[in-house]
């Protein structure tokens, strides 16, 4: 376990070292490529501002993730439980996949303003589909023999849904949510790029315009750290949710 953690740390340290050497040897100007030491220094002096913006972006991502998951799971369940809902929603869902969500960002900002609403919506839109698609697929693919067993046991349809089909679909749901967690930060950041007054995406654009490349890198490092932390904590939670699956089965 310790070794598994040590390896990526060593690799990261090695890469940072190589980067620093590259910067020192080539003498590349720091508004093009600042070295890691420089970025760390900027990080320390601007810590409070960075933390403020990071907090906003994190709230956007988490809200988007929660809402997108709830909506996606609800949609998948509705389509499973009701034939009519399936007929009406499924084509709509498939078509909605063809819409490049990022192209909607300017519209969302026009409608929902520069605040968090538009970014959360953006994240929700990005998360919604992988969760719905994976969960719905899982719900549809229940082992037919389990269903037959339940029928012979005279199980009411509701119990079949909640006690067999739903738990059987949880592994699929978990892999959908894993994908969603990986893409959720993209929605929030792109939303911030298009129009906002706060958040790490905004801060990066702001620093970029002033040639503060080192600050941009500091913000980027924070985004990466946040995305990784989120991914791994969601992954841990999901492991508990599908406790009966072995490690190999949980790999993506």
């Amino acid at each position: 376990m310790k070794r598994a953690l040590l390896r990526p740390l060593i690799v990261t340290a090695g890469l940072l070292f190589a980067w620093q050497v590259l910067v020192a040897v080539t003498g590349v100007p720091r508004y093009i490529l600042p070295g890691p030491l420089r970025i760390a220094a900027v990080f320390a002096t601007h810590w409070q501002t960075l933390a403020h913006h990071a907090g906003i972006t994190l709230v956007e991502i988490v809200l988007g993730l929660v809402l997108g998951t709830v909506l996606g799971a609800g949609c998948a369940l509705t389509m499973t439980a009701s034939r009519a809902a399936r007929r009406w929603l499924l084509p709509l869902l498939v078509m909605s996949q063809a819409v490049p969500v990022f192209a909607l960002a300017p519209l969302l900002i026009l409608w929902l303003g520069y605040g968090m609403g538009s970014k959360v919506t953006m994240a929700v839109l990005i998360i919604f589909f992988p969760v719905t698609a994976a969960f719905y697929d899982g719900l549809r693919r229940t082992d037919p023999e389990w269903l037959e067993l339940a029928r012979v046991m005279d199980a009411p349809p509701r119990a079949v849904l909640t006690r067999i089909r739903l738990p059987a679909a949880l592994p699929a749901f978990a892999s959908g949510l894993r994908v969603a967690t990986a893409v959720a930060p993209i929605g929030a950041i792109v939303g911030e790029w298009v129009g906002s007054s706060a958040g790490l995406g905004f801060y990066m654009l702001h620093a970029n315009a002033r040639m503060q490349t080192d600050l941009m890198f500091a913000a980027l490092a924070l985004v990466v750290a946040m995305a990784l932390a989120l991914y791994f904590s969601v992954g841990r939670g999901l492991k508990k949710l599908v406790y009966w699956q072995s490690e190999e089965e949980q790999e993506l």
Binding site: M153, D154, R163, P167, W244
Partner: protein, 246 residues
Amino acid sequence: MPPAAPDIRLEKVSFSFPGTVLFRELDFHIRSGCWTCLLGPSGCGKSTLLRLISGSLRQGVSGAIFFDGTPRGRGQTAWMAQKDLLLPWLSVLDNVLLGDRLRGRVTPARRQKARDLLQAVGLAHCAGDLPAKLSGGMRQRAALLRTLMEERPVILMDEPFSALDAITRTRLQDLAAGMLRGATVVLVTHDPLEALRLGHRIHVMSGAPVKMGPALQPPGDPPRKVDDPVVAGLHADLLGRLTGAA
């Protein structure tokens, strides 16, 4: 076991899959309280016949199926398949109680009964474990208990022992024969030896639409021993019938 195991009568039952007529006006009688074993080549409709009897297949079926002369009602059949069909997220105990859980009627008394059954077949120590921890034979024993817990007078078994190794299979056959005594059991199998050990009546199915061969009734009470001369003697005969059917 619950009393009053019914006899089952199929009258003019017809059913086809697209492209093949599986049953055409099939008449078949299954004696009450007996083990009826069905043998036949793959795809001849043995499993489908079980589905017709259990009522899980209704669409496109014509004809009538009577239990003791009345149309089949709810709660009369239990089904055991080749796969154990244990739910991987439930403990062994909860799997044995699956029927009650699905119908929303788990009582302490039923829970105790399930525990007693687990005790009786030597699975008490893993009542709380997930099925993934169990061996194939243990899992199928749990599946047998789940079937038993249903307390249905008609038990439909679809090659329930075929995925097990020879020794585990023999043990489980003996266990099932003991625990299901008195019920009307229909056992689909590929294994003539299994049929001869367990069956009161053995039919070989063949052709499309299906023809039911005449009942072979080995003397003596099942489970018969593997080295029982009756079993050995009839084995060749039954194999001959099967080869003719294929």
